[in-house]
Point group: C2
Chain length 195, copies 2
């Protein structure tokens, strides 16, 4: 089996995760990945077209994972405001943890990255519409109360997500980020609590 050997594929991705985190994409060689995963370099090319392909696969996995976590949070029982809060926290914290885990962690989710920018952008868009859908639930007629303001569901989702983006500054500690995120989300979705 060439394209379906999940074990081998997973082993390669695991090795790549370790190495990309430690050295970054540029300074990690296929030889490194081969050694780390206990395969020959040539074998890597049976599972992935090239190094960029491995990187994109990792970026894609990461986004899928965090989107799935967010979706799960939204699907839980409970008031909408709380579910929104948990969804945003799940997604953001997953990303922040990885970004802070190593000096190269943010590469995988960089919207401006040559290799995975499209993946990140697309995931962002999916997350936006996921949240917009949740906001829309609160008010079927298209207008949503976000705190005191009154905007469309999509606008509400965009304002929420882009505000959160601002909190993700380099240099801000994870703990501080977590607190601010909680405060911000609580404030923004406060108006939804009553529904």
């Amino acid at each position: 089996m060439v394209t379906r050997d999940v074990t081998t594929r997973t082993r390669i991705l695991g090795a790549a995760t370790t190495l990309f985190a430690r050295y970054g994409f540029k300074r990690t060689t296929m030889e490194d990945i081969a050694t780390e995963s206990g395969l020959s370099r040539a074998s890597l090319y049976l599972q992935f077209r090239n190094k960029e392909d491995i990187f994109r696969a990792l970026a894609s996995d990461l986004q899928e994972q965090s989107l799935a976590a967010a979706e799960a949070a939204l699907a839980e029982e409970g008031p909408l405001a709380e579910r929104l809060q948990r969804a945003v926290e799940a997604k953001s914290l997953r990303m922040m943890e990885i970004a802070h885990g190593s000096p190269h962690g943010s590469e995988l989710m960089d919207e401006n990255h040559r290799l995975c920018g499209d993946v990140a952008t697309q995931a962002e868009a999916r997350f936006t519409s996921m949240l917009a859908g949740a906001f829309a639930e609160a008010d079927g007629v298209g207008e949503v109360r976000l705190g005191d303001a009154c905007v469309t569901a999509t606008e509400a989702a965009e304002i929420l997500l882009q505000s959160v983006t601002g909190l993700k500054r380099p240099g801000v500690e994870l703990k501080v980020f977590r607190e601010r995120l909680a405060a911000l989300v609580r404030v923004l979705v406060a108006g939804l609590g009553a529904r």
Copy 2:
């Protein structure tokens, strides 16, 4: 008069503003600035130490102007929530207009810029403490209600400013930014309205 010729100095800064906006710092030469301001290149060095000095002077002026505008907005009559909103809008819109005015507009306020990063960072810090002071007015004992949340005045200011930062994305139109900014600020400072 060498260091006090305001007219000449202003003429140079005006020319530099035009040219830096059109070509950026790197691609603007002292010869360009001299021609544009109707002076000889050597004369420029009587007013400024070098090209970097001109750039920093512009960046500094910009920050001073927008901080002054924000401070004026805070000093107005009216409810605290409204004054905060106007202050943030004044500061942010001034910056966004310039950033969008030309492809090189954001250079002057880039916190990571080699030449003016410190100026931008310092201005940001001053703005934060300015807002923190305003928040503190609302509640003398250090804890501030920001929407539903309860945080210190400084934390409230930081959350507000960093959220706004997230709205300043490249590609977002000025009109959209203005609307989102208004909505966000309204929501965040809503809890202060009653005071």
